[in-house]
């Protein structure tokens, strides 16, 4: 269960639908539990689960006609840690996080997926290539384009927030 939050986040990035994401997480665990090819070390477990999830999702897409649905999703809000800081800075940091999340959410599917895998989940290029079943070179170029798009969306907002904090 230690990767369930990561899997749920990735499922949301793939499906953009809370109900479908929950179904996908369950299907992933069902497939994993019945698989005879479980990795021997825990360090490979997360990547293996992500591969299972992506394959399950692609399989699902092949069998359905309707496009993904869009719903309001409940975000995790850190509740401690920053609480003892300057309330104004805490507020602005929260705003910044919210804006980053919205920007990631608004990326096209393939870009959103690769940013989640690299910058949120911390997979290496090779691990991402395994999950996406593509060459590592494709990971690099797609990640570059995705970050370029993200930077364009975020830079003016981040600069505004830094000015207000500074």
């Amino acid at each position: 269960m230690e990767h369930i939050d990561s899997l749920y986040g990735y499922a949301l990035a793939l499906t953009r639908d809370a109900t479908e994401a929950e179904d996908l997480v369950q299907e992933t665990y069902v497939r994993a539990a019945s698989s005879a090819n479980r990795p021997e070390t825990d360090s490979n477990l997360k990547g293996w689960l992500f591969v299972i999830m992506r394959n399950a999702w692609l399989n699902h897409l092949r069998h359905r006609n309707s496009g993904p649905r869009f719903v309001e999703l409940e975000l995790v809000e850190p509740s401690t840690g920053e609480a003892q800081g300057n309330p104004h800075v805490v507020y602005l940091r929260k705003l910044e996080r919210q804006q980053v999340r919205e920007a990631i959410e608004s990326l096209p599917d393939a870009y959103r997926e690769i940013v989640v895998l690299r910058d949120i989940e911390g997979f290496s290029y090779q691990e991402i290539a395994t999950v996406l079943d593509c060459p590592a070179g494709t990971v690099m170029s797609r990640l570059g384009r995705a970050r370029g798009r993200l930077r364009k969306m975020l830079e003016p907002r981040i600069r505004r927030i830094d000015l207000r904090i500074g």
Binding site: L75, P78, V100, I158
Partner: protein
Amino acid sequence: MSKCDDIRGRLTLYLDDELQGMERAAVEVHLSECESCAAIFERELNFLNIVRESGQLYAAPPELRAKVQQILRPRRSSRMSWMVAAAAGLLVLLLPVVMWRVVKQPNQPENGPACSFALMAAETHLRHVGGQLPLEVESTSPQHISEWFVNKVNFSVKLPNYQESSGQEKLYELEGARLVNFKTDYAAYVAYQMKERPISLVITSASGVEPTGGEVIAAGGLKFHYNAIDGLKVLTWSDRGLTYALVSDLEERGQQSCIVCHQGTKDQSFIEPLKPH
């Protein structure tokens, strides 16, 4: 291609930790010598930090956790669960006695790394302190927290109320608890505060978890492993099918760390042997 163009082309790889050895060193040397490349690096690093610090975007809802737990649960025998629960019940009843009746014995140095549970506990502590793992229940009542864990973990959690039952001076305070994932099941996470500094207790019933490495403190028939992980002090021990990890950033080390929480005890005959002479 100029040296600067070459290095700037590799900055992303460097920031993504995809360069090793000489390639990595070459980037670092150039950045230390070239102000304009260093400025580009700083800007890129700042951008990536902002993206990465947005953290885990979502948490799996409790209903989903419960469903997945059901998917994974059939592999555990019901008889084993009952035995673990019984052992856990006994342990939590005995825990205060064990912790209070520490008998000074020679510490045994032990080589080798800390176990995966100790590493998980340290990471969990850091994530909680960093705001990524909010508490699911907030209370200063050991009884309330203990009841909250009923039917959420497959062992019994009964947090002892050391301070009131022993007349100990109130040095630390319970904050709350939550579930955390470890291996294929939930572990219990309990948060305390001591002098405004966080202390974490993590409990698991996962099989095959054996505290290892660090300094070994023998006490009350148990072996406590004291590890320093990422600047944190992590004390792990196993008893009757459960494994515990206590994480803090307190300055005291080894068995001195036991004294920190128990220094208010009236039982000075217990605490004296632990003090440095």
